[in-house]
Symmetry: C2
């Protein structure tokens, strides 16, 4: 195959229909959307536009919900750098789910993951990014009363024992094939997936009852949760349901997903307006024609235009406005430069508010961190 999708590597032109088959997830179809809409009145634009395109066991989750058996949400962020716009997609959607379903959210910060998988990343850098990343998550606007942060190394007194129960049921050959590890992989990285499984049942352990769980995530994390779903029933817990989104494409339109390691590929939540404007003007891959004359005549191609795609996937929730942009661009009425300015304005107005909330978040971190009252 000409693309790779694992939790640690996304490369090539991702064929999402093929991923649906290979990973064994279900496609989000109109039937399930109608069912969700019964509970939410409106559908989030990421659902309407199938940015969240696949799921596992959403019907079961809604059956339970309709019986009065409420679910909680599980999301996460492995600190290793600054948050970029691609990271926001599942979190913004998760906030919508929290609001619509009045759901508790357990948000994991696996602060050992990237440390174990990236040779050059130090424990000190991870600590710094952990703090920075928490600010971004809080700035999303999650309900503090219903949101609990779990930090793997700090909550290991709760999590490690549970992770060992999971680990006992996973052999090296199982993770080797799922994650592309080998005999030269370090033993922390080999163990890691056990820790990523824990939030999918920890609230059930703590509250001593089986609680359904829904995990909204980008599709590359699915290999972890396939293992989670295999094992949890053996320990007497529900399989978590999940809902998967596509990757926000890189600014340059190159294949793979947005990545902080390429300067031209990503915009970060802490970028000032002039950097946003400059990067988009300079790097955003255009679906337009080579000259203004040609563009007016032949029109642009929104399908491959990154500015349009970012509006569609993340920054323009209004379907009518998006549709107008689509047709104006396609007809040649809207030039690439003009389209870029629309996006710049959208992003900068989003980031202005995000950065304001991010400042306020500095005083709120402690409230979000889960306090565990277990005996020491």
């Amino acid at each position: 195959m000409n693309f790779t999708v694992t939790p640690w590597d996304v490369k090539g032109e991702v064929d999402y229909d093929r991923l649906i088959k290979e990973f064994g997830v279900e496609k989000i179809n109109d039937e399930i959307l109608t069912r969700i809409k019964k509970h939410t009145k409106d559908l989030h634009f990421m659902l309407r536009r199938k940015v969240f395109f696949a799921h596992r066991d959403l019907n079961w989750l809604l059956n339970e919900y309709e019986k009065g058996n409420k679910f909680y949400l599980y999301s996460g962020r492995a600190p290793s750098g600054n948050v970029h716009l691609g990271h926001l997609m599942p979190w913004l959607f998760t906030k919508w789910l929290q609001d619509q379903f009045d759901a508790e959210l357990w948000f994991q910060f696996p602060d050992e993951e990237k440390f174990l998988f990236k040779q050059e990343l130090t424990s000190e850098d991870t600590e710094k990014y952990l703090h920075e990343n928490m600010l971004d998550v809080i700035a999303i606007g999650f309900d503090q009363k219903k949101t609990k942060f779990l930090v793997d190394t700090k909550h290991a007194d709760l999590m490690y024992k549970e992770a060992c129960k999971i680990a006992k049921k996973i052999t090296f050959s199982m993770v080797k094939s799922s994650f592309g590890l080998n005999e030269q992989t370090n033993i922390g990285a080999i163990f890691y997936t056990s820790m990523q499984t824990v939030p999918a049942f920890l609230p059930s352990v703590i509250k001593n009852k089986n609680i359904p769980c829904l995990i909204p995530h980008a599709i590359d994390q699915d290999p972890h949760f396939r293992i989670t779903r295999d094992i949890l029933p053996k320990l007497g817990y529900y399989k978590p349901a999940s809902i998967q989104c596509m990757f926000l494409p890189s600014l340059t339109g190159s294949s793979g997903k947005m990545s902080s390691s390429e300067e031209s590929s990503a915009l970060h939540t802490i970028d000032p307006p002039e950097v946003v404007a400059k990067k988009i003007r300079k790097y955003a891959f255009s679906g337009g024609q080579a000259t203004v004359e040609e563009h007016r005549k032949k029109g642009g191609n929104p399908e491959i235009d990154i500015s349009y795609q970012w509006l569609r996937m993340l920054f323009e929730p209004d379907d009518k406005k998006l549709e107008k942009i689509y047709y104006d661009y396609k007809s040649g009425k809207l030039l690439t430069g003009e389209l870029k300015e629309i996006l710049i304005e959208k992003i900068n107005s989003f980031l202005k508010e995000h950065q304001r909330k991010r400042e306020l978040a500095k005083k709120q971190i402690d409230k979000f961190i889960y306090k565990n009252n277990m005996m020491k």
Copy 2:
């Protein structure tokens, strides 16, 4: 080779001289004993008799000690069953070291280890044995003010992060060869050795200065600490020094080490006097002759007689008394039955006191458990 010694498997007739070469430890010789004696006045009988027969870096440790750089001790117990007499050997010696060198002791209870390595062992059983085993360790008489218990799952908020730093430097192929693991081994068992390394430097982390460490242990644990010694200098910590003892032989004299899984092989610290007497009379392998007449004429062989060996290794600290038993048995003056009664009396008088202290220990557990004041 016709014997196996790994942390999880000891089989066959152990050739300790060969182990010294294969593991690369140094033999305990009279020179190092003289040096120790300078600080302790007397030598513990397990040193005089070379029950502790090998070491790593004891000279370095004593250099540091003589410069005023005190060391701490690290010992441990993986809960999986009741404590048997073989377990006591390194602990009793460790207590002597604590008293002689006024040393802090960090005692690890890796309550995930046996859970991960023994398919049938449950988390609940481990919890029960953890409690029981702590009573035995406290009954040894360690100084409460200078002894800290670390329980892997309960102190994981301190230990897991440090274990990940170790794990990052160990590949699967390294543990595979050291411990005889394979692709069907579970990923918790693969990760485990990282946790066993942590107490060898955790006090240095907590106190924020490099503190020498001495690990008294049975020789089968050496593969863990070889890895520990490879890695700690890379993180800026001292290699721990270590001192290794032989295995207390099984009651039946069969090869390998004393094991709780064989009913006839082990005596436990909670055994009542009549069980001790019965088991020794019934099972203790004898170096005597087939009939009293023959024994009087030819004499017995103390080298293979388990009662004699247990007295030598664990229950008769007095060299003169032991020597008399040796020659009386060898000459035929002492019969096997009489030798067994000497051992029974010794063990039962030891256990009477141990069981009394074990009862008192029930109220002391909490004081021994390390209290970590880190921010949550």
